[in-house]
Symmetry: C2
Subunit: 147 residues, 2 copies
């Protein structure tokens, strides 16, 4: 039996953030951070609106979660993110020592594994949850941009 | 003959930022970004004060420079930074497509080369300018913390 607050539930929340990014003309990536079954931070890519390459969904959400918790380490938190983090975001996750990262779609070009970065050895990471939903959103974004 | 605005001049400005970090109890890393011989952004590590792992000198300075220029790419800019960027900061530099990065001290443990990250293929990077001054500051910081 599924609990109402399982990984799928939280990834759907991250996908809602990605949809918000899509509707704002941003590459649709969304992210939430959960602590003790509660969403403590959420965000979506804002690189175009802010004209800032550091404004990835994950970066904003890490900052917001640390602010909420009053400490910079996210040791008992889980991040749900709709696209595999890039090396910048993997580096931020590394420093945060976050417990767990759940990724929807893999990014075989710009993801941290392709770029050679790494997350903290204590962090558990999984890939593929609702990956199709995330990929579909990304594909329709890039299709609309090519038009 | 040295011009007043050579790499050494700008690295000294980055070292002044690192000293400010030191005096605030932060790991002493400083950074400036230069465009057309003008300092357009400067910053130092603020991870303790902000309790935010993303508040590295480079990250803040990239955001500030993009804000100054009104665009997210730093294609005609040079960063002077007192310690080799970590993978997070290298990732941000990658996305910014900055022209040139001048690094003082190398970081053989947490630097992006040790962690497996990379910067943009178009970015020129050099290491070692005023490295001793930077290392001395870092060493005296960590010595004071161990006391």
């Amino acid at each position: 039996m599924l609990t109402p607050f399982d990984d799928t539930y939280f990834m759907k929340k991250a996908l809602q953030e990605a949809e918000t990014a899509f509707n704002r003309g941003e590459i649709p990536v969304g992210c939430i951070i959960v602590s003790q079954n509660t969403i403590i931070a959420k965000g979506h890519n804002l690189t175009e609106m802010l004209q800032d390459v550091t404004a990835h969904a994950e970066m904003q959400t890490i900052t917001a979660a640390a602010n909420y918790l009053g400490g910079k380490y996210l040791k008992d938190c889980t991040m749900y993110v709709t696209l595999e983090p890039c090396q910048m975001c993997a580096g931020a996750l590394y420093w945060s020592q976050i417990s767990k990262v759940v990724v929807a779609a893999e990014d075989t070009e710009r993801g941290y594994r392709a770029q050679g970065g790494k997350i903290h050895p204590k962090t558990k990471i999984s890939f593929g949850l609702l990956a199709e939903e995330s990929s579909r959103l990304l594909q329709s974004f890039f299709k609309s941009k090519r038009r």
